[in-house]
């Protein structure tokens, strides 16, 4: 019965799936084709395929006299890499403390950290700017990195704690008996076993911090260096007439994340759904 039913309408599901996806894809198509079209053609034929494709827009962005793209790219790279490295180290260690400590107050600490998962950045940003001003780190990249670390550490801890609970304590005890220091027991024995957790933390935080807008906008301030997102935001005003450059800048800014995502696609989806089913 099912086979008859299935073969009779076997074209229906793929057809509907393709149609729905095509409609959903329209905005992405709009950007993709217009990156490779000369400016005047974008206004006249926004939906046409760029034939022959031109690299003028990309070239214009890469060779801007103020170097906006390169400066923003360097800042974004620096902030993202530093933040995710420090976050991985600190949240793995804090996760170890929470998973292994037998004291009662660790439960309280865990709740305080979990609360951080739902705090909107707007609630804390104004006082954060004052904390940074007091310590002389307002409008600096290291100020932004420190804020990122504080703000995202709950997520890292949340992921690592669960994984560390799954690693037998005996492994660490054996390493200690063999003369390893506590730090060595963690970094040489436990940490390598946490690879899926590390991948999740690196991927998620990497994408979030790279794409972040509000925090760099306010912490780096108007005059100081921009990241890639704030750079795009600031240049839409100047580029009002030149859509080709706006699209090219957005395309170039997304490229690193896109490559990162395509390379780690499997872990990405696994991390997302792992977090989802564990809740």
């Amino acid at each position: 019965m099912t086979t008859v039913d299935g073969s009779r309408r076997s074209w229906l599901r793929p057809a509907v799936a393709i149609l729905v996806s095509a409609i959903f894809f329209v905005p992405l198509y709009y950007v993709l084709v217009n990156v490779f079209k000369p400016g005047d053609l974008i206004a006249r034929e926004p939906a046409s395929v760029p034939l022959p494709p031109t690299l003028t827009n990309i070239h214009a962005v890469l060779t801007r006299p103020d170097g906006l793209f390169w400066v923003s790219l360097a800042n974004s790279m620096l902030v993202t890499l530093l933040s995710i490295m420090v976050l991985t180290v600190l949240s793995a260690m804090l996760g170890h403390y929470l998973a292994r400590s037998t004291r009662r107050w660790t439960k309280v600490l865990a709740v305080i950290l979990l609360a951080g998962l739902m705090i909107p950045p707007q609630v804390i940003l104004i006082p954060v700017t004052e904390v940074l001003r007091l310590t002389g780190m307002m409008a600096t990249l290291q100020g932004l990195v420190l804020f990122n670390v504080g703000y995202y550490v709950p997520f890292g801890v949340f992921v690592f704690t669960g994984f560390i609970r799954g690693v037998p304590v005996e492994l660490e005890e054996a390493a200690l008996l063999d003369g390893a220091s506590r730090g060595q027991a963690f970094w040489r024995i436990v940490f390598p076993l946490l690879r899926p957790a590390t991948a999740s933390v690196l991927i998620f935080l990497g994408v979030w911090i790279w794409n972040d807008f509000i925090d760099p906008l306010i912490i780096l301030g108007p005059s100081q260096g921009t990241t890639i997102t704030t750079g795009i935001y600031r240049s839409i005003g100047q580029y009002q007439a030149d859509l080709g450059s706006v699209f090219a800048l957005m395309f170039l800014a997304t490229l690193p994340v896109l490559i990162f995502y395509l390379a780690l696609q499997k872990q990405f989806v696994k991390g997302l759904t792992g977090g989802a089913t564990k809740g």
Partner: protein
């Protein structure tokens, strides 16, 4: 069983726990306390000294037309953003829940916006929905003489912004539901089929209850991210058109506190926002968790 800790306690906390905790306290917990403190004053960094005003800010807040509008805008936006991607996401996930390269490729189509910056998404849609943009060009081409001002019509702008958020969040829901669907045992579905249950009945009786954890995660993630909507509003409409037709609370907090420097008043707003988010999340989590069944 209470076992001996493997590390001396103080040493363990000082070396493993403290660095993360200290930064968290400095950059998240302390600022929350400072916000709460400011909300009881008329603090303005460019007009010191600030005075203690008690609950005055909170009293004013609930008589403030602008804040009440922001509260309404945020509520409408949150309802749309929690419901629409959840529903459409479930539909798309069921549609794409098949093996094969085609379905894998189509999943990636839906997921791509999730990894884009909200600024990039906002700019794409600003250009698409512009009064003289491609969407309205198309409408004119098919004979609509007065196409709507998606972003310039005060009655419409909020729904346009909400749709943009929905478009970006849809892929997230699809992936989470797809993972949930893969956890539904085929034997259960086959058993139901043998018992004579049609596809709709099978979905309602077997699949849907087992998707409860996916519904929980999607709803909570959508709720939290909808409530703090800022980027889209800032880039797409900057709170307008007109006065505050798309200004969310998150948007108003920063406009009041950083652009207008009324830090005390903005902090009261932020505290109210935090209380609402925390309460809503707790209620929704409790309610949805109760539906979850163990296999």
């Amino acid at each position: 069983m209470r076992r001996k800790p493997i590390l001396p306690r103080v040493w363990h906390f000082a070396s493993f726990g403290a660095p993360g905790v200290v930064i968290y306290l400095c950059f998240v917990m302390a600022p929350i306390l400072i916000s709460f403190g400011y909300s009881l004053t008329n603090h303005n960094p460019f007009n010191p000294p600030s005075e203690f005003v008690g609950l005055e800010n909170y009293k004013l807040l609930f008589q403030d037309e602008q804040f009440l509008t922001a509260l309404r805008v945020t509520t409408i936006l949150t309802v749309i953003v929690v419901v629409v991607p959840n529903l459409l996401g479930l539909g798309v996930a069921v549609l794409l829940d098949r093996k094969g390269w085609l379905y894998h490729a189509l999943r990636s189509v839906f997921f791509t916006p999730v990894i884009l910056s909200s600024v990039v998404v906002s700019i794409i849609w600003t250009k698409l929905l512009d009064d003289r943009g491609p969407v309205n060009d198309l409408l004119r081409a098919v004979g609509v003489e007065q196409p709507p001002g998606w972003l310039s019509d005060p009655d419409l702008a909020l729904f346009s912004v909400a749709s943009i958020v929905c478009w970006q969040m849809l892929g997230f829901c699809v992936v989470v539901y797809l993972a949930g669907l893969q956890g539904v045992p085929a034997e259960l579905l086959e058993a139901a089929e043998i018992d004579g249950a049609g596809p709709v009945r099978r979905f309602r009786a077997v699949t849907w209850p087992l998707l409860a954890p996916s519904l929980t995660i999607n709803t909570v993630v959508l709720l939290i991210s909808a409530f703090k909507t800022y980027d889209y509003v800032k880039v797409v409409t900057n709170g307008g058109p007109g006065s505050g037709t798309t200004a969310t609370i998150a948007f108003d907090v920063l406009a009041t506190g950083l652009d207008a420097n009324h830090v005390g008043y903005a902090s009261a707003m932020a505290v109210v926002m935090l209380v609402i988010v925390a309460t809503l999340t707790t209620i929704v989590l409790r309610f949805l968790r109760r539906r979850e069944v163990d296999l």
